[in-house]
Amino acid sequence: MYDPNTIPKKHLLSLQLDLKKFEPATEEEKRQTDQMRESTTFFRDGMRKLVKNPLAMASIVVLVLIIVTIFVAPLIVPYGYQDMITVDGKRDKTATNLAPFTYSELEQKAIESGESIFPHIFGTDELGRDYFIRTIYGTRVSLAVGLFASIIVLIIGLLYGSISGYTGGKTDIIMMRIVDIIYSLPDMLMVILLSVVLDAVLKNALTGTALAKIGTNMISLFIVFGLLYWVGMARLVRGQILTIKNNEYILAAKAIGAKPGRIIRKHVLPNCMSVIIISTALQIPSAIFTESFLSFVGLGVQAPMPSLGSLANAARGGLGSYPYKMIFPALMICLIVLAFNLLGDGLRDAFDPRLRR
């Protein structure tokens, strides 16, 4: 510590501070300056912002509730999605088109004789199948399509975009021309066209194999999504990589002899992860949208297996008499898409580096 008295005074016009005018800080004052903000990582900071966003948190709650329901409900509800209602082992022909929470005549008799019958929460459909369980399975199918389609898009787009962006030069130009052309095709029409064709082709090729169980429509849906929607992701990843690869730490990694694959995995991809995750989260509702649209025009999943779009399409016939059959799957689609959209917006606000200050 300096003693103010021992420091020699410089000449008259010196700007040197006069230390006599200062006094040493007390211990308590020192502690006050030590109180810094807790150090935070990019992820933790983003999560903090996300938790503060009520809309995003509400949509997470809604989505978790939906996911829990679609796994738990089939265990509780004693009906199958393709089984007609039976009473005492006999098919109950009166149990068609029941309104929510009502029972058919046979069921009513069974209840009066002391049996307990699980209520039809959403009623039954025109073939006497429990509509609640069909809606649950429809939700399962729609969510599965949305999720898998997004994963396929993510994988193809990530690989293609990172190779194109990292390699650069002629490879990049050629790869991006291909992307440009696929990008300019009208996607929805191509989806319709290709799923019609693939469905017809796969039906012949797959009969008898294990894949046929999933349904050719479902497989052709995945292939079509994979073929068309990866281009957006590839462009995004490429753009990110182009900005990242000129950074000094990449040069440093190259200088110590890291191979391109390692640099992409260890340095480049973690840095563009946030943008990729946001885009994937927003891809899910758009895939659900497309699937329900295709099912609605009659191209979606195959007959006994319901999807929300095909349920809505089937309900169109008796819209005047049984409006609830339209309302339940329609509400479910809206709820899922809205929740994913809000969650995606929330994620973008929390994690997108372009929106951060």
């Binding site: 300019s184 509702p285 649209f293 191209l299 819209l319 409006p323 689609i333 959209n341």
Partner: protein, 303 residues
């Protein structure tokens, strides 16, 4: 500038060509030819038919002949009805075009108005209400919206009669087609308006004493319009595909209904022909919106 226009025209032509090629080979990949139905004609008749539709020629030659027919506006005949597809398309396209154009108009006008209101009343209740509803509407698929509107206003409240040849009320179909693009345009306009309103030239105009209305209409809105123009291409695509569903729900006999029924009937030639027709329309819309975008904003350079 002309170099850019030429480049875009070439890209559009290439896209159309690729669409036609994909369509043609997809059509031929489908198992079972046009005459493989249950009422199989005798070998002699089949030979005559194949001769007439050039099906006995090699695939490459068939492709060239198909291209040639397309250039003359000939899409071939429907597999199910045997009628000429070109006349079917031209007969049914009129009503779809009317519906689509009305939807585009409604989406643009109301989208811009609501977007401006939301931007000018930022964080006050009109803004919050508009953002709430637009977030809601972009999450509702067009078929859900169309059926719900039909259910509520036609069947329950009976405010509108159900579509028939004698009573054609476009209100509900246009509404269900336009709500999604309108919400999108509203959000787009809001963000770009907020961006423009913060610019220096707006403050200059206000400082000069230009009236509030003129500042918004002349200085702000014109610049805020630019991002909206880029959305015209995707919007056309949305409305053309959306009209398939909306027309089916409201039982309007337009091109969309034809397309959906041809899918249900697995009428392959009809599906292919309509796809090509709609795809060309979409590519043209994208081309026009891109060129307009570059033409309107002098700051954007032509590459």
């Amino acid at each position: 500038m002309w170099k850019y226009v030429l480049k875009r025209l070439l890209l559009a032509a290439l896209t159309v060509f690729i669409i036609i090629t994909i369509t043609f080979f997809a059509m031929n990949a489908i198992p079972g030819g046009p005459f493989a139905s249950e009422k199989a004609p005798s070998p002699d008749v089949k030979a005559v038919l194949e001769e007439r539709y050039n099906l006995n020629k090699p695939l490459g030659e068939q492709y060239l002949l198909y291209l040639n027919d397309l250039l003359h506006g000939d899409f071939g005949v429907s597999l199910k009805t045997g009628r000429d597809i070109s006349t079917t398309i031209s007969d049914s396209f009129g009503i779809s075009a009317k519906l689509g154009l009305m939807a585009v108009g409604v989406a643009l006008v109301f989208g811009l108005i609501f977007g401006c209101i939301a931007a000018l009343t930022r964080n006050k209740w009109p803004d919050r209400a508009i953002i709430f509803f637009t977030t809601l509407f972009v999450s509702v698929p067009s078929f859900v919206l169309a059926t719900l509107l039909l259910l509520i206003f036609c069947l329950q409240l009976k405010w509108f009669s159900v579509w028939s040849t004698t009573s054609q009320n476009y209100f509900l179909p246009v509404l269900s087609l336009a709500l999604y693009p309108m919400s999108y345009i509203t959000r787009l306009t809001k963000t770009s308006m907020l961006d423009v309103m913060g610019q220096d030239y707006i403050r200059t105009a206000q400082a000069k004493g230009v009236s509030h209305f003129l500042v918004i209409a002349k200085h702000a809105l014109r610049n805020a319009l630019i991002p909206v123009i880029t959305y015209v291409g995707p919007m056309t695509a949305y409305i053309l595909t959306g009209s398939m569903v909306v027309e089916t729900v409201f039982t309007i006999g337009g091109l969309g209904t034809k397309f959906v029924s041809s899918i249900a009937n697995r009428d392959y030639t009809m599906i292919m022909a309509t796809t090509i027709f709609l795809a060309v329309l979409m590519v043209l819309a994208t081309l026009i919106s891109d060129l307009l975008y570059k033409a309107v904003d002098p700051r954007i350079k032509f590459e």
